[in-house]
């Protein structure tokens, strides 16, 4: 049994710290392994082609003579699709979570939560298929070709909504009961307590939800492959077809050999760099992880 004020933790706590520390180190190592793997696979292209050409070449024609390896249009498409999806799913997800914690009758909240939890497990191929067979023809009737940035944005927003809703809900619901009692006792209005006290208190968790959803959106492959049109040109409007970095890899990997294959992995490196930049941005905007 520990005595309050003792400086060294009792054995039980030392063991706890050791085991969880091991787990944390293991968790932190996985991504290093993946990053090294991507670098290893991309290396032949980086050496043979040189990093600069991946943003300055005339286009993406890896099998032409001479080969062209511009990844910039794909980078722009990835950013555009993710940004658009987050602009939709961010507020929608947040407000749905607020609905579940503060506005919905308990039975409705439970139902909604059940539905959202269900949809968190639906494969990307189902979302993509729905997009291809139902959404894209609708868009094509409005503005050909239908398979476009817009289709990608809509499908992606739908796909990351469950993550956004559930993670936000967990964050808001986790805000201490005292906070809620305090604002009630002080006579805050519902919206006042929500926006003035509860949401700021849940800020760390909400930030985490946003970041998780955004990075998930950046990494989505299959559904984007099916609805964005996959044309490796810089998109000039929402209705233009585009190809994300992830779709680029998935589309051509099956038939790519040697330098072409390595070039696809350079796209993977770009994505990792993008995620790193995103995380930095989040930290810079004050999305700090609160310590207990």
């Amino acid at each position: 049994m520990s005595t309050p004020g003792r400086s060294s933790p009792p054995d039980g706590d030392a063991a706890l710290r050791a085991v969880t520390g091991l787990a944390a180190r293991l968790s932190g190592t996985v991504v290093v392994g993946i990053a090294l793997f991507v670098l290893w696979q991309a290396w032949p292209a980086l050496q043979a082609v040189g990093p600069l050409r991946f943003v300055t070449d005339a286009g993406w024609h890896p099998l032409a003579q001479p080969a062209q390896f511009n990844l910039l249009p794909m980078l722009v498409a990835s950013v555009a699709v993710t940004l658009g999806a987050m602009l939709l799913a961010g507020p929608l997800g947040l407000f749905t979570a607020i609905f579940m914690t503060d506005y919905a009758p308990p039975a409705l909240a439970r139902l909604l939560r059940g539905v959202v939890e269900l949809l968190a497990g639906v494969p990307s191929v189902v979302y993509g298929l729905w997009g291809l067979v139902t959404l894209v023809p609708l868009l094509a009737a409005w503005q050909p070709p239908g398979a476009s940035l817009l289709a990608g944005i809509l499908v992606l927003a739908l796909m990351i909504l469950p993550t956004m809703v559930l993670a936000s809900h967990a964050a808001i619901a986790g805000v201490a009961a005292e906070h809620r009692l305090t604002v009630a006792a002080l006579g805050f209005s519902c919206a006042g307590s929500l926006w003035g006290v509860l949401l700021p208190a849940a800020r760390a968790g909400l930030c985490g939800a946003l970041l998780l959803s955004t990075t998930r959106a950046l990494g989505e492959t299959m559904a984007m492959l099916m609805v964005t049109g996959n044309v490796a040109r810089m998109p000039d409007s929402l209705f233009a077809p585009a190809r994300t970095l992830t779709a680029n890899i998935a589309l051509e990997l099956a038939y790519a050999m040697d330098r072409h294959r390595a070039a696809l992995f350079v796209g993977g490196l770009l994505l990792t760099a993008l995620v790193l930049a995103l995380v930095r941005l989040a930290r810079g905007l004050g999305c700090a992880w609160r310590h207990a």
Binding site: A23, V31, G93, I98, E117, G121, P162, G205
Partner: protein, 274 residues
């Protein structure tokens, strides 16, 4: 006024989200229901999946999921605990782990698949197997588990921890009897999101657990997950669409069962704690 705006936004958002999902699920139901039958659930695939059923696929999916969550949950929970309770003593390591998990969440599924193939299947020698697939999925579910669970742990008020220390409780007791039960909703959300991510994954599994559709004999056998089967039927086999959608419906039902069971388990644990 702000009250009314807030309420309208909340109700509106929920309504929109519900409507969108209803459209999606309705579409799958309409296309998949004709293919569903008891036979479909208990027989193995035949004729490239267009005849027979998905029994072997269901079994494989459950095994893969069990390995994925069985690995990711303890690892993720332990990591979240470390980050919340001990991380502040080693800020640089804490920063690195946080960073690493954020980046991990953004790795594309196909890259996970290729990595899983190179590491688990080739380097560790597991080959195309349920084990390879499950471990790869564990890597994918890990950041979600840690992030969502961790947010719950961090949200537990300081007074609770201080009170426990003042009472002379060990950190372990504080954790297991006070903090984890208090963070249970977040733990539950994280677990369900992690399970969802694992079940939804397709590209990663093609390269790790594989394409073989017979009944798996052990975790070292290659086996086809439900999401891979859906993809093959809908996009690769002419005439496979109806069974593809029917398989999707079974997957949705499977998710529903797992979610209900997880909720029940959580409630049971909470009751045993109080």
């Amino acid at each position: 006024m702000r009250d009314r705006l807030s309420a309208v936004a909340a109700w509106g958002a929920a309504g929109l989200v519900l409507a969108a999902f209803a459209w999606l699920i309705g579409d799958v139901l309409w296309r998949g229901l004709p293919g569903l039958s008891w036979q479909f659930l208990v027989s193995a695939p035949a004729d490239a999946g267009r005849a027979g059923g998905i029994a072997s696929i269901l079994l494989a999916t459950v095994w893969i999921l069990a390995i994925a969550i069985g690995t990711a949950l303890p690892l993720g929970l332990a990591t979240a605990v470390w980050l919340a309770e001990f991380g502040h003593r080693q800020p640089r390591l804490q920063g690195h782990v946080n960073h690493a998990l954020d980046v991990l969440a953004g790795v594309p599924s196909i890259v996970f698949g290729l990595f899983g193939n190179a590491f688990f299947a080739v380097t560790l020698g597991l080959g195309f197997s349920i084990l390879s697939g499950g471990l790869t999925l564990a890597c994918m579910a890990l950041p979600i588990l840690v992030r969502v669970t961790g947010a719950g742990l961090q949200a537990v008020p300081a007074e609770l921890r201080q009170g426990a220390a003042a009472c002379g409780l060990t950190q372990w007791t504080t954790l297991s009897r006070l903090l984890l039960p208090a963070a249970l909703p977040a733990l539950l959300a994280g677990t369900l999101l992690g399970i969802g991510r694992a079940l939804a994954e397709t590209a990663a599994l093609i390269f790790t657990s594989g394409y073989v559709d017979r009944y798996p004999g052990s975790v070292f056998d290659s086996a086809r997950a439900l999401s891979v089967h859906i993809y093959d039927l809908a996009m690769n086999v002419p005439g496979g669409e109806r069974n593809g959608y029917a398989s999707a419906l079974v997957l949705v039902a499977l998710i529903l069962c797992i979610n209900l069971a997880t909720h029940a388990l959580a409630r049971g644990w909470q009751r045993s704690m109080s």
